[in-house]
């Protein structure tokens, strides 16, 4: 072990994004001033990249997949001629993913519609670039999420609920990080459809404003993080850990940049 033994757990905690802001700062300060720990930190990040590389996580052999599928089909078949359900079996059990608050809370009403129209217009006059259509989709997604009262499919401030919720619905695992302690509380998540693919939309709040963070895998051909303010809406994109992130909100650019930096600090590269 190359780092300081006393800092080992906290160093790992930092790498795993399991430290609160105060501890993270403390560990980062130590790493900055300690050659051994800084080396251990670099090693750990390299290892992480390697472990998440291609083919490290193996897939089930086809024969096993077929066996499992046959098993499920058999269970279904055996149930087909089953007797009428017993009262106990008929009880509808609460599904934990279904906890929802009043969605009307998020409807912004008529003002929102007008604002939305402005926003879409504003984006459509952005110089024609390869990302123009994408940005339009993103703002539309952000606006739509508030207009139709469909901000979130899973409403919870618990990142450990939001992340697994995405688990069964996407072919990738978006990082879900609560930033409540930094003034950006996690509200929930939903699926959205951007650029011809299903993406994760992770919803945060900043005061009364909503931030939609769209996430999908791939680094694309996008340049470095940049803000594109336009008529009340700010778009910010960056890539990290093999994922593309787009933050869309009507908060000011400074706040959105801060939001990005806070997330960056907790998402492994």
């Amino acid at each position: 072990m190359s780092g300081c033994p006393d800092w080992q757990e906290r160093l790992q905690g930092l790498i795993d994004g399991e430290l609160d802001a105060a501890h993270a700062v403390e560990v980062e300060a130590h790493v900055a001033g300690c050659a051994a720990c800084s080396e251990a930190y670099a090693d750990a990040l390299k290892l992480r990249t390697a472990l998440r590389g291609e083919d490290v996580r193996v897939v089930a052999p086809d024969i096993l997949t077929l066996r499992l599928e046959a098993m499920v089909r058999a269970a279904e078949a055996s149930a087909a001629p089953a007797a009428p359900v017993t009262p106990s079996a008929a009880v509808v059990r609460p599904f934990s993913g279904g906890r929802r608050r009043d969605r009307a809370l998020w409807g912004f009403g008529g003002a929102g519609v007008a604002l939305a129209a402005c926003a879409v217009l504003a984006v459509s006059v952005v110089p024609a670039m390869q990302t123009a259509q994408l940005e339009q989709d993103l703002v539309a997604g952000h606006v739509r999420s508030q207009l139709v009262g469909h901000l979130t499919d899973v409403v919870t401030s618990d990142q450990h609920v939001v992340k697994p919720w995405f688990g069964g619905k996407l072919d990738f695992s978006p990082p879900v990080i609560d930033l409540a302690d930094q003034g950006f509380p996690l509200v929930g998540g939903r699926l959205d459809y951007i650029g011809k693919r299903t993406v994760a939309a992770i919803v945060y709040r900043r005061g009364r404003h909503v931030i939609n963070l769209f996430v999908w895998p791939g680094s694309g051909e996008l340049g470095p993080a940049e803000a594109k303010p336009g008529d009340g809406y700010t778009l910010l994109h960056w890539t990290r850990g093999g994922m593309t992130f787009w933050a869309v909100s009507d908060v000011n650019e400074k706040d959105l940049q801060a939001f990005r930096q806070l997330l960056q600090a907790r998402i492994p590269a």
């Binding site: 080992q8 472990l51 590389g53 193996v58 359900v85 993913g97 069964g168 302690d181």
Partner: protein, 231 residues
């Protein structure tokens, strides 16, 4: 969110209802997860709706289940049996499913089935037991001899990066193998891993601090060796 203060207490991480501990210990989480809503509710045949849900919630994680089973058992034939057995149990218990993360559930069952198998191996073992030198957890770190394992030099000389990493992971004791897989490949949080492995969060943290450390050094040595081949 995950603050150091929250490490002290585990709350409903994956949305399963908790119940009082039962023995044998390895059954605890599986049954806790599936505590029947009423005493008369029991595993039974599944409706088409339930099997559809089972596919969505549990069957989709077959790759994750196999990956964990293979890294734990280190033998493809055993891994297949473990996964198969885990899914038989999951299917049997699914009529009591009350929501929650299907992946952590099936992986917990896979993990428990692996330790069952490991105990059987130990009972049958006639070969000398392999025990890691830093055997702090006593029996918990017992591992069966890995007959497939090359010596360290050979392991690191593997051509593919994935192959070399597998060899390095396979040399760790099972308690470290499992946290590496759950954390680095499945990306569960410390709290989720603590629940799945029925360990205090402090143990998870110390294992996670130990396991990648050992791996990272070996990996760096490996990369240094291949230095010329990589930019």
């Amino acid at each position: 969110m995950a603050k150091s203060s929250s490490h002290a207490s585990l709350r409903g991480v994956v949305g399963w209802a908790a119940t009082e501990p039962r023995s044998p210990a390895e059954e605890r989480l599986e049954t806790a997860v599936l505590t029947p809503a009423s005493p008369t509710a029991r595993p039974g045949p599944l409706s088409p709706e339930q099997t559809r849900r089972f596919r969505e919630v549990v069957l989709v994680h077959a790759d994750a289940a196999y990956n964990l089973a293979l890294r734990l058992s280190r033998r493809p034939d055993v891994a297949e049996d473990i996964v198969n057995d885990a899914y038989v149990r999951a299917l049997g218990a699914f009529s009591n499913y009350r929501g929650g993360d299907g992946r952590s559930w099936i992986l917990t069952i896979v993990r428990n089935r692996f330790y069952d198998w490991l105990r059987d191996q130990r009972r049958k073992a006639t070969a000398p037991l392999s025990r890691p030198a830093n055997d702090a957890d006593d029996d918990e770190d017992w591992d069966f001899p890995d007959t497939e394992q090359d010596d360290p030099e050979e392991a690191l000389a593997k051509k593919s990066q994935a192959g070399a990493l597998h060899a390095l992971i396979d040399r760790l004791p099972p308690r470290l193998r499992e946290v590496i897989i759950l954390r680095e490949m499945e990306e569960f949080s410390y709290r989720e891993i603590a629940v799945m492995t029925e360990s205090p969060i402090g143990s998870v943290m110390s294992r996670l601090a130990r396991a990648p450390g050992a791996l990272a050094e070996a990996w760096r040595a490996h990369e240094a060796k291949l230095g010329e081949a990589r930019p």
